[in-house]
Structure formats: C-alpha cells, structure tokens
C-alpha cells in the first residue's frame, strides 16, 4: 500500500492542467481541413462554371453529402475525446447521407445507357480524384489525431476511424468544387473509396496513437 501512497503524494504535488476545451479543438480540426482545401482551390481554382453546374440538382449533392458526413463526424469525434462517451444513437445520423449516396448511385446506374455508365473511369481521372483526396487528407488526419491525444478516448480504433472519416469527407466536399465529373457512378464510388481508405488507415493509426 505504501507504494501507492507514495505515488499519490507525488501526483498530488504536480501542477494542475488546463481543462479540455472541445470547442477549441473542434475549430482547430475544422481549420486543418479548411486550410489545405482552400490552398488547393486557390492554386487549381474551382471548376469552370461552378454556379451553372449547381443548377443541376445532382451536382450540389456531390458537395453536400460529404459535408454532412464531415459535420457529423466532427461532432462525434469531439464527443469521443472523453472516456465515458459513446457514439450511441447519433451513429444513425450516417444513415441519411449513406442512403442519399446509394440512391444516387442506383438512380444513375438505372438511367444511363450501359456504355455511358463508367465512361469517366480511366487511370487519369482515378488518379486525380483518389490521389487528390488521399493527399489532401494527410494533414487533417495527422492534426486531428494529434488533437485527440490531448483527450482520453476509451475507443481508440473507433475514434481514429471517425477522425479519418471526418478529414476525408471534409476534403472530398472541398475537392468536389474542383471536380468536373458529375456522374454519380463516378463520384459516389471513388469519393467513397477514397474516404474509406483514409478512414481505415486513420483507424489503424488511431488504434495505436490514441492509447494512453
């Protein structure tokens, strides 16, 4: 017992630390997505005729669906920085964007002529789309995991995954303003794949980095 008492004595002499401020962390996480995306759009510009393209109701969804996932994931990640927190029913919030994406994909598949379905898919467009989202996600994922280490999640794998989901979907929402491929078969699939890759990697990294 005395050893434990010693430990308590030593711990109690250390200075107090500032309380956790989820709002502050949230702003930093948001900026970690916004800054790289804004730089990307400043350098490469948004797509030509963005405003006109948005008159097609499918095109805004390309931005709004990942934006919804980003907002929800950010809220969940900020909740999970406390050890007692659980995702709980809020996880159902993903149902809406997921259903939207699936409906878009099926709708586009049904309406397009067979040869037009995957016409956009070629090595260059894949590389541009997948590559950009993956590259742009590196910084936000690292920043988010760094921020989350300040907290004390009791679910490192899940929290890491949600951080990746948050980063990649935020990036995808920004990237969609540059991307000119409006075929849902293309963007739902490849944005989805890019987001899932980042989510998986972030989950694995988080599972190690977020332990305490």
């Amino acid at each position: 017992m005395t050893q434990t008492d010693d430990l308590i004595q030593r711990l109690s002499r250390q200075a107090a630390i500032a309380p956790l401020r989820p709002a502050k962390l949230g702003v930093a996480m948001g900026l970690s997505v916004l800054v790289p995306v804004a730089l990307f759009l400043l350098i490469f510009g948004t797509r030509p005729g963005l405003g006109e393209a948005w008159t097609n109701p499918v095109v805004p969804l390309k931005t709004l669906l990942p934006l919804t996932v980003f907002a929800l994931s950010l809220a969940l990640v900020l909740r999970l920085i406390r050890p007692e927190a659980r995702v709980g029913a809020a996880g159902w919030g993903y149902g809406l964007p997921l259903a939207g994406a699936i409906a878009l994909w099926i709708g586009a598949f049904a309406m397009r002529a067979p040869q037009a379905r995957f016409a956009d898919v070629n090595a260059f467009s894949l590389e541009e789309c997948l590559g950009s989202i993956l590259m742009l996600s590196v910084v936000p994922v690292l920043v988010m995991l760094r921020m989350l280490r300040i907290g004390a999640t009791s679910t490192p794998l899940l929290t890491g995954a949600l951080a990746g989901l948050c980063a990649a979907s935020g990036v995808a929402a920004g990237y969609s303003l540059f991307c000119t491929r409006d075929n849902p078969l293309f963007f739902v699939t490849w944005y989805g794949v890019a987001i899932l890759i980042v989510t998986a990697i972030s989950a694995l990294v988080g599972n190690r980095a977020l332990r305490w």
Binding site: T4, S12, A16, I17
Partner: protein
Amino acid sequence: MQLTEDPLATLLKAANAGDGPAYARFLHAVTPIIRGIARARARSLPPDQNEDIVQDVLLGIHLKRHTWDEAQPLRPWLYAITRYKVIDAYRKRGMAVHLPIEDYSDVLPAEAAADPLTDRDHRAEVDRLLDHLDPRSAEVVRAVALRDEPQAEVSARLDLSPVHLRVTLHRALKRMAALGRRDEP
C-alpha cells in the same frame, strides 16, 4: 449539475483548480473504489498485480484529469477510466507475460491436479505415464494427486520447499497431460 454534489467531484474540482491537498484527498478516496473494481474485473490475474493495476489507473486519472467535464457527474468518467485501464492492463500482460513459473507457484490453481488424470484413472495407465517422469516428480504426483496426502507432509518427507513442491507437481502434471495427449489415437 447534480442536486447533491458528489464529494469526490468537489475534491477533483478543487484539485483541477490547483488545490494540491484536495487532489491528494481525492486520489486517496478513489483508491479503494479502484481497488475493488480491479479486484473484481482482474480476477484471473495474480493478486500481486492488482496493486500494479490500481497504480496504472491512478496514473491514468492523473494524466487525463483535465478530460472530466465539471458540468457532468464524476462517476461515469471515473469508471470509464478505470475500466479502460484495467482492460489495458490485461492487454499489456496478455502480450508480454513471460515470467518464470516460480513467481506464480503459490497462486497456481489447485484444481490443476484433477485435470490430467480425469479420463485416465486406470491405475496402469497412470503408472505408465508416471514412469516417464523422474522418480521424485513421480512420487510427488503419487503422494499429492493420487493419495491426497497433505502437501506440508509431502514436502517435509521429500525435503522439498512447499513452493518447490507445487512447481514440481504442476510441471509433472503438465508433462503427463502432454504425454497422455500424444498417446491418444
């Protein structure tokens, strides 16, 4: 905010505001709670490791004391940290427990004695397995496991320390179990 303030919450609130003595009182007050949880959850770990886990949990609380939201009740936070750290202790020990068996000899489960002999109570078969052991191990098994002699007597008769006796018995039974498995069709 709760109607009746948890005294622990009051202490940690003061501690997080920089009150060192209040912090010491808080840690002293939560230690028996943690010890109880650790004992209940970590039953399969050797008892001498329970206090290590208690200290791990205290350290975890210390390092993450800023993650408690003062507007929320303290207990769920406290239990979440304790639970996480106890599971973490299992994970760590599960991955890296290569301690010599002598360290555990006095906590080895006694029911191990029944196990290797259960399906093999034919005397001849047991004798055959015993023949594979060195004479002293064989005598330990005969005396303790088959004749149910008190371990203290056996250790005195064979001039073995009680710890050594239990280690010898445990190893002999394991060896017999392995031999028995090898012989099975």
